[in-house]
Symmetry: C2
Subunit: 313 residues, 2 copies
C-alpha cells in the first residue's frame, strides 16, 4: 500500500490485519494433506497469499464500532473472504470471464484444471457457511442464525451471484446508469455491505432480536452502517473502473482495460473518466457523513473508506 | 414407481410426498419474474419437475421417528434437495461429466449456457443455507446452528464435493474396493446421511445440546440412524451401478453405461454384476436391522430403504 494515502498508524494496522487474516484463513482451510489432497491444495492456492483483503479489513474495522471479540471477528472475516474467493475462482473460469491471471498468479483453473476450480469454488462457499455455523459469533444463537441469513442473502441470486448474472447479460448492451448501479450493488456491493454488518453484529451494539428487530436507536445506527456499506461498495466499483481504464497490466496484476474491451459497460464508458472520478468522491463524502455519530470508534472504517476510494491500484 | 415394489399405501405416501416436495420447492425458489430473471428461471428449471426426490423422502420419513413438525421438515427437505440439485447442475457441466441429458431433459448448461449453469449451482447452494438460517427448524437455535453445520460438512470438501473430486481423480485408475467405497461414502452417501439426520433433528427425540452431545440413549439412537443413512447411501450407489450396467438410455433418462465407458470404476466393474447385487442386499439387511428399536415410527424409513435398494430405475 502506498504511504502517501495512509497515515503510518493506519498503514501498520492494515498490514497487521492482513497478516491476521492470512493466519486465520491458513488455520481454517482444510490442510493440503487431508484427502482429497488436490482439492484442498487448490482451495488453499485460491485463497492464501493474495488480495488486499478489503472485506476482512471491513469486518475488523466494523467490529471496533461494537466492541466485538477478536476471535468472533476472525470467523466472520474468514467467511466473507471465502465467499469472495469462491466468486473469483468461478468468475475466472473460461465459461465466465476466462481470465488466466489473478493477483499476478495463474488462475485456479489454469494452475489446476476446470473441474477442480469448479469444486474449489463450491467447497469454499460451503466452508464459509460451515464456519458461521460452527463457531460462536454472537451470544445469542438466534442472532447468529440471522447473521448466516445476512451472508446468504448477500451472496446468492439476489446478491453477488445475481449481480454476476446481470453482468453477463449486459455484455455488448448499452446500460443506463441506474442499470449499471443495480448490477454493481449486487455484484460487488452486497458482499461489502455484508462485511460491514457482520463485523458490527459480532459485537453488542445491536441487541440480539429475531429478524434484526432492534431498538429504534440501534436500528437507525444499523441503517446508517448499512448505507455506509452500500456507498463504499459502489465507490469501490467506480474506482475499479477508473483504475481499470488507467492502469497497465503490470501494475494491476490482471489484464487491464479488459472489461471495456469485452464490451462490458463501466462507469468510465458511461460517464467518462472525469465524471466517474467525481462520482467516487461524492460517494466517499456521503459515506463519511454517515459515520459521524459513531465518533472515534469509527476511525478505522473512515480510514478504510479513504483507502478504498483513494487507492491507486 | 413400480407397484410390485411397494404396497399401495407406501406408493400413495411417496406420490404425496413428492408432490409436497415439488410444492415446497416451487414456493421457496425465487420466482422467475424476479430479477435476474434468466438466472431465476434457470434455477427453477434445474430443480422443479424432476427426480425421485429420494433425499426429501428420507427427510420426511426420518421426521416421523421424532414427531417433527411438517413445516420444519419442508425446509430441511428443500435445503437438502437444493444441495443435491446444485451438485447435479455442476456435475453435468462440460468440464466435469459433460452430460447433455438429465431426467429426460436437456441439462442446465445445454438449455441455458455454461455461465448460467455455473451461477445456478452456486445460487442453489446459497439458497439451501439461507433457508436453514431463515426458518425455524428446532426450538433451540443452537441446535439449528448444529444442523447447518451438519449439512455443510456433508456437502463440502470433506463430504459430497470432496467425493466428486476423488471421483474425478479416479478416472482411468484401478481403485480397490475400500477406495471405491471411500469415494461413494463422500460423493453420494454424505448427503443421504445428512437427509436422514436432518429430518430426525427437526423433531424432539434428540435433546438440543451443543455439538449433538445428547443423552446417552438418544446418542445411541442417533448413531444408529447415522449408520442407517450411511448404509443406504452406499446401497444407493451400488444399485445405481447395477442399474447403470443393465439399463438402456430410454429407461434411465441418462446415458446408460456411461461411467463404465468413461473408465470410471464401479461396483460392477470391480465385483461383477452378481456380487454387486449381493452387496446391495447385504447392506439392505444391515440397514433394516438398525431400525428395529424404532418400531412402527420407522415404517416409512424401512419402506424407503426397500425402495432404494429394490428399485429398477
Amino acid at each position: 500500500m502506498r504511504e502517501e494515502l495512509m497515515g503510518s498508524d493506519f498503514q501498520s494496522w492494515v498490514t497487521a490485519q492482513q497478516a491476521r487474516c492470512e493466519d486465520v484463513l491458513h488455520e481454517l482451510l482444510p490442510r493440503a494433506e487431508v484427502s482429497p489432497q488436490r482439492l484442498h491444495e487448490a482451495m488453499r492456492y485460491a485463497v492464501l497469499q493474495g488480495g488486499k483483503r478489503v472485506r476482512p479489513l471491513l469486518v475488523f474495522a466494523a467490529g471496533e464500532l461494537t466492541g466485538a471479540d477478536a476471535a468472533r471477528l476472525n470467523i466472520a472475516a474468514a467467511a466473507v473472504e471465502l465467499i469472495h474467493a469462491y466468486s473469483l475462482v468461478h468468475d475466472d473460469m473460461p465459461c465466465m470471464d476466462n481470465d488466466v491471471l489473478r493477483r499476478g498468479k495463474p488462475t485456479c483453473h489454469v494452475q489446476y484444471d476446470e473441474a477442480t476450480a469448479l469444486l474449489v469454488g463450491d467447497s469454499l462457499q460451503t466452508l464459509a457457511f460451515q464456519l458461521l455455523a460452527n463457531h460462536r459469533l454472537n451470544d445469542d444463537p438466534q442472532h447468529q442464525l440471522d447473521m448466516i441469513k445476512l451472508l446468504a442473502l448477500a451472496s446468492g441470486s439476489r446478491g453477488m451471484a445475481g449481480g454476476q448474472a446481470i453482468d453477463l447479460a449486459s455484455v455488448g448492451k448499452s446500460l443506463s446508469l441506474p442499470e449499471l448501479e443495480f448490477m454493481h450493488i449486487h455484484k460487488t456491493g452486497a458482499l461489502i455491505r455484508a462485511a460491514v454488518l457482520l463485523g458490527a453484529h459480532c459485537g453488542s451494539i445491536f441487541p440480539a432480536k429475531p429478524d434484526f428487530a432492534e431498538k429504534p436507536e440501534s436500528a437507525t445506527q444499523r441503517d446508517k452502517l448499512d448505507r455506509f456499506g452500500k456507498l463504499i461498495g459502489l465507490a469501490f466499483q467506480v474506482v475499479d473502473d477508473v483504475l481499470d481504464c488507467e492502469a497497465d497490466t503490470a501494475t494491476l496484476g490482471k489484464t487491464a482495460g479488459k472489461d471495456a474491451n469485452n464490451g462490458k459497460p463501466t462507469y468510465v464508458t458511461l460517464l467518462g473518466l472525469s465524471a466517474a472520478r467525481n462520482m467516487a468522491e461524492q460517494l466517499h463524502h456521503e459515506a463519511l457523513e454517515l459515520l459521524v455519530e459513531f465518533g472515534q470508534s469509527a476511525q478505522r472504517l473512515r480510514e478504510l473508506a479513504d483507502f478504498i476510494i483513494l487507492r491507486k491500484f
